[in-house]
């Protein structure tokens, strides 16, 4: 079923922690397309393609794309207006 492909931001917690160095599922983002603020855990996440696609839960715009290779990661953050993350303790 198409609907079962849709996960949420909890699913990319490990990948985001690896890439950003801090816990990111509680970070607050603002969507560039609709301006809605939300926490990363509540975003829509699709992981069954060659890359990971993250969409706004409100307007469905693509916020972020992550493609991983053996020795690099390609990160497209162009759908975000901003991401507010907590500094490490």
């Amino acid at each position: 079923m198409a609907d079962d492909r849709r996960l949420d931001g909890n699913a990319i917690g490990g990948m985001m922690l690896e890439l950003f160095g801090v816990e990111m599922t509680t970070a607050t983002e603002v969507c560039r397309t609709c301006g809605t603020a939300d926490v990363v855990a509540r975003l829509e996440v699709y992981m069954d393609a060659p890359g990971t696609v993250v969409r706004c839960a409100h307007c469905k715009a693509v916020l972020m794309r992550i493609v991983r290779g053996p020795d690099r990661t390609w990160l497209d953050l162009s759908g975000f207006r901003s991401i507010e993350l907590r500094s490490p303790d």
Binding site: D3, R6, L7, G9, G13, G14, T25, V39, P88
Partner: protein
């Protein structure tokens, strides 16, 4: 070097299997020991990485079942055609090792502050909720609404039966098949069921919902219809494939 500490926050550790519990025909709990494991909070998960002889690697996320402070345990459901779960459920033996990293997650996490807790789990979505139940204080009221296909598929059944009482109330629904004389619910979760089981929203309970995407969507929508503030409902969805 200043950057080293930050990058070191999530590193792969070697975990050794120290015990296993068959929970259902398709679900098993593995007890793990991992040197350097920093501990976890109730609701968090970890990543498992398996490496094949030819170097091929597969990673999957699994919720932590044990309470903080207890020996680390994960509970895994075998997904047919999965790359990782068939090994963990059917083949992993005491002494086997694989890599783990974590703990992961800060959103689907519960801190016991004495307020009532409403937990809604579908299938193996009960795993992070069990960590919460196991770590709850003796005075925190908890209600668990737990959907399984059949009685045989109920994970932690004996422990839930043993814990159920005035403080921890457990409501089962069996969606596919019910034993003779079954007194619990016998249908998929719906708004009516949530209305009967959930605390009134005015009591401001903590709410955690974990299961498949459709399960979580139905539960979250139903709770919003009951007057729950959407942002007060913490949700975690897992996929039906890929494990």
């Amino acid at each position: 070097m200043a950057g080293t500490a930050v990058l070191g926050r999530l590193t792969w550790l070697v975990a050794q299997v120290t015990g296993a519990v068959d929970e259902t025909p398709r679900v098993r709990t593995l007890l793990l020991e991992a040197d350097g494991w920093p501990g976890h909070r109730a609701g968090q998960h970890l990543d498992v990485r398996l490496t094949a002889e030819d170097g091929y690697q597969a990673e999957r996320s699994y919720s932590i079942a044990s309470a903080p402070g207890e020996p680390l345990a994960i509970t895994i459901e075998r997904l047919e055609d999965g790359e990782v779960s068939p090994y963990l459920v059917d083949e992993a033996r005491d002494g086997d090792t694989f890599e783990v990293r974590g703990p992961i997650g800060g959103y689907f996490v519960w801190e016991d502050d004495g307020r009532p807790v409403f937990l809604v789990g579908g299938g193996s979505g009960v795993v992070p909720l069990m960590s919460m139940i196991r770590s709850s204080s003796e005075s925190t009221p908890i209600r668990l609404l737990y959907s399984s296909r059949t009685l045989e598929d109920v994970i932690y059944r004996q422990e839930l039966d043993a814990r159920a009482g005035d403080r921890v109330e457990v409501f089962h629904t069996l969606t596919r098949e019910q034993p003779p004389g079954w007194a619990g619910y016998a249908r998929r979760i719906d708004a009516e069921m949530l209305r009967e089981v959930a605390w009134p929203s005015a009591e401001q309970p903590h709410v955690f919902v974990c299961g498949s995407t459709r399960f979580v969507d139905v539960a979250a929508d139903g709770l919003v219809a009951l007057g729950y503030e959407p942002l007060s409902i913490r949700t975690e969805r897992f996929g039906a494939t890929g494990g």
